[in-house]
């Protein structure tokens, strides 16, 4: 007896079964990937051992995966916690250890580890490799100098790095000027603006340029407010209770706005800062 | 000087335990120049081993093989020798032309000589049409013929063929036989192995029979075949029933063969049988003596050898 529907039936059942299993497998793979994340990352020495003849390619691969992971998180508007920042740092570090001449991990490290991750020490540890392996690249010590000065509050070290940067080929004359200013002055925000203007001039990527301009704008606002607070203190002998006081009392004509969408405020230590933390605010 | 000499050659293969197997046992044999020598024996008797020793592919445990008066280990002497391996394999992606170029170059031929030899040999083995075609597209018979051309490209004085007829169709066998005859005509010394008696009958001047690693007999072909015929086979155009009715009183067996009937009888009864069949209107198709097959001769040799050793 012919049963013409048996084979198609079996086929349909198998396809349906396969789809079910495939979905399950996918979620299992995702869970496994997260578990692997928990387990951590192979130490660079082990990667070097396993990379065989393809060390440079492995460096590229690790870096590009980190880059796309970071991009994905940003796109989804998720907050990156300290542990994830550590993981990102370890990967950038591994990529740069596999190929210490590779520029991208340094730039990326400088871009995210300092402002976003609050890991200036790690950023400088990473950049130090770039400083050693790329002796003709003035940007590496320049980044380090900036981080030392702005994030680590170490003007002496910052000035030393800047001096080194200014001696390297291709560096802008402004770098030397900044180094000199850093060793003589205490006006932090103003110097930082100088740094950022230099950085902006070095960048060609329109997105990064835009980001730099935003940051410079925010720091300009902070700088204006800092000066106004000084004037206020001279005049009234105390910190203003609220920065709005500055306008009310006629110290400031107009209250600056934060390009990131935050609001400037005076923190416990009498420093001007912004609620945006110099990062775009999701509304 | 004999072109091929086995001087007391013994080959032992060491087994897994302390036992070792004898592949060739004290082989003493020399072949005269211009002779066609058939090396006979069942599979596994040691024919191929002996041939490989001659070509230095295998080294003898004791004794030595000589080619054209030089030890087999002498590389240069092989430029005057042609060899066709048993069921040969060549490089799949080469063409017959390239194969012969290789053979010619390694035998020290000049380019124009190679071209000349290639043209005539590919005609001889009937591969001229496919001279630029890759060997992977060839049938077994064509490969075998390409192998013959390769063996002969250097116009060798000595030609060694290992089972040249095996696996060939009747046409291929005839071509091979013609080539061997031609080589004999040219005065070459030909040494070939076979386990099929028929191959040897028409071609050889001399045969050697090897059984269980030992050379049992070397003789002219006539001597080997002088064993008396054991009987006769007659084929008649008649049904078995008709035949049976005529065969009363004659010791004979008969079998149907597609409309014909084959009758086998002894030498003694042949005359009586023919008388009876004369009465039969249907004609006699064929009558052949039943010669001992090689198998029979070999068995005889084995028995003979066993008797000797006792």
């Amino acid at each position: 007896m012919a049963r013409p529907f048996v084979l198609p039936g079996v086929l349909v059942a198998l396809i349906a079964g396969h789809l079910l299993v495939a979905v399950q497998l996918q979620s299992q793979r995702v869970a496994m990937a997260q578990e692997r994340e928990e387990l951590g990352f192979l130490p660079p020495a082990a990667i070097r051992l396993l990379a065989l003849d393809y060390r440079d390619l492995v460096a590229d691969l690790i870096f590009s995966r980190t880059l796309s992971f970071h991009g994905g998180v940003l796109k989804r508007g998720e907050k990156i916690d300290a542990r994830t920042w550590q993981a990102i740092y370890r990967r950038i570090d591994a990529a740069s250890e596999l190929d210490p001449y590779f520029v991208d991990p340094y730039y990326f490290g400088q871009a995210v580890l300092t402002w976003d991750a609050h890991m200036p020490r790690e950023a400088n540890a990473l950049l130090d490799r770039g400083r050693r392996f790329r002796p003709d690249d003035w940007v590496m010590p320049f980044f380090m100098g900036f981080n030392a000065f702005y994030f680590l509050h170490d003007k002496t070290q910052g000035a030393a790095y800047l001096m080194e940067a200014s001696r390297r080929p291709g560096s802008s004359p402004l770098v030397g000027l900044l180094a000199a200013r850093l060793s003589s002055e205490s006006r932090g925000t103003e110097t930082a603006i100088g740094f950022l203007q230099e950085l902006e001039a070095q960048t060609d990527d329109p997105g990064t340029k835009e980001e730099m301009k935003k940051r410079i704008g925010a720091l300009r606002g902070i700088w204006v407010l800092e000066q106004a607070v000084e004037v206020y203190r001279d005049r009234f002998g105390s910190f203003p209770a609220d920065l709005r006081e500055l306008v009310k009392q006629g110290v400031l004509f107009a209250f600056p706005s934060d390009p990131y969408g935050g609001v400037f405020y005076l923190n416990d230590q009498g420093k001007v800062w912004t609620t945006s933390d110099l990062r775009p605010i999701k509304r | 000087m004999e072109p091929i000499v086995f001087d007391d050659v013994t080959k032992l293969y060491k087994g897994r335990s302390s036992t070792s197997q004898v592949a060739v046992d004290h082989l003493r044999l020399s072949i005269a120049e211009g002779n066609v020598f058939g090396f006979l024996g069942p599979n596994g008797a040691g024919k191929s081993t002996a041939i490989k020793i001659l070509l230095n592919l295998i080294f003898p445990t004791s004794g030595q093989a000589l080619l054209l008066g030089k030890p087999a280990a002498d590389t240069a002497v092989r430029s005057r020798v042609g060899y066709l391996p048993e069921s040969p394999n060549f490089y799949d992606h080469l063409t017959p032309e390239e194969l012969l170029w290789f053979g010619g170059k390694t035998s020290g031929l000049r380019s124009n000589q190679i071209k000349e030899r290639t043209d005539s040999l590919l005609d001889l083995v009937d591969l001229a049409r496919v001279r630029r075609q890759r060997l992977r597209t060839f049938s077994k018979g064509m490969i075998q013929r390409a192998g013959v051309a390769l063996a002969l490209v250097n116009d060798p004085d000595v030609v060694v063929l290992d089972e040249p007829m095996s696996g060939l169709d009747p046409l291929g066998r005839k071509l091979m036989a013609d080539i061997i005859r031609r080589l004999k005509h040219e005065g070459k010394t030909v040494f070939f192995s076979s386990h099929i008696l028929h191959d040897v009958e028409d071609l050889c001047d001399q045969v050697g029979i090897i059984v269980n690693a030992r050379l049992r007999r070397v003789a002219g072909l006539a001597d080997v075949l002088s064993v008396p015929a054991t009987g006769w086979s007659l084929t008649v155009k008649a049904t078995p029933d008709t035949v049976r009715s005529h065969l009363t009183g004659v010791t004979a067996t008969h079998t149907a063969r597609g409309g014909l009937t084959e009758i086998r009888t002894s030498e003694m009864d042949l005359g009586k049988l023919l008388d009876r069949l004369g009465a039969l209107k249907e004609g006699l198709v064929s009558a052949t003596p039943l010669r001992p097959t090689l198998e029979d001769i070999l068995l005889q040799e084995i028995e003979h050898a066993d008797g000797e050793s006792r």
Binding site: L49, D56 | L57, D92, F102, T106
Partner: protein, 269 residues
């Protein structure tokens, strides 16, 4: 050694016409085309990544090619007894081994020229389409990296020949050579790692000895890796090149001579 050329030539033709060869080039072409999308994923070192990809793909395809053709050309000769027809000619065992190696080397050199050409073309077009601050191709080191890679594959081929001279199965020869490749690529790193020592890890002196001995027995294939130098245009001194070159020549020489020596004693049943 007067019959080297005929043997080398038929080996070359046999290898060149095999399907493995053709298939791998198609795969290589597909891989090389990925350079155009892949390298632009990187914000700064675009050309560097293009060169990495080009040389990395060349190295991968070259490796597969060497392993497959190497085992196919010699071990298969033994397995299918094609060798009988060669050795029955006035060819010595040493001539056979050296001639075969010469033919295989010729194939390797030719494939590396073609693969390297693909890689160069891909890197060159990326370089052309990209502003100079995203990097440029450093041609002298690029060519150097390709040459040293070629030498490395020839060394690997000699290792295949060495194994094939006493192992009769193609598969086994392939497996052993692959193991040698893996060890050869990482032994230097392992030795360095053990010598400098990892923090909090006690390394037994016996193990260190073993690794040191292994370092001198196995080929140090990492010494032929000039890909980083090529990608970044780092300066390479003469001695950086001369010693690996000599090392490759001598190591291959030892392997081939050993293979010939073993072959001289080998019987072909």
């Amino acid at each position: 050694m007067k019959h080297l050329w005929p043997i080398a030539k038929i080996t070359f033709l046999e290898g060149l016409r095999s399907r493995v060869f053709f298939g791998l080039f198609i795969v290589a072409l597909l891989l090389f085309s990925s350079t155009y999308t892949m390298s632009y994923l990187f914000p700064h070192d675009v050309v560097k990544v293009a060169v990495d990809l080009g040389l990395g793909i060349t190295s991968l395809v070259g490796l597969i090619l060497t392993l497959f053709l190497g085992t196919q050309l010699l071990a298969k000769d033994l397995e299918r007894r094609t060798i009988h027809m060669v050795l029955a000619k006035a060819v010595s065992r040493s001539e056979y081994v050296v001639g075969k190696f010469a033919g295989l080397s010729l194939i390797i050199v030719c494939s590396m020229i073609v693969l390297g050409g693909f890689a160069a073309f891909a890197s060159w077009t990326v370089d052309l389409l990209t502003a100079d601050q995203y990097g440029v191709v450093h041609w002298p080191t690029f060519v150097l990296a390709l040459s040293m890679m070629t030498l490395m594959f020839m060394l690997l081929a000699s290792v295949i020949f060495f194994f094939s001279s006493f192992v009769s199965s193609t598969f086994l020869a392939l497996g052993l050579t692959l193991v040698i490749y893996l060890i050869g690529q990482s032994v230097e790193e392992l030795k360095h790692f053990l010598e400098t020592g990892a923090e909090g890890v006690a390394i037994s002196p016996v193990f260190l000895k073993i690794v040191t001995v292994a370092y001198y027995i196995f080929p140090n294939l990492a010494a032929f890796n000039f890909k980083t130098q090529a990608a970044h245009g780092l300066s390479v001194s003469l001695s950086d090149v001369v010693w690996p070159f000599l090392y490759g020549v001598f190591y291959s020489g030892v392997m081939i001579a050993s293979a010939a020596w073993i072959f001289r004693r080998r019987e072909f049943t």
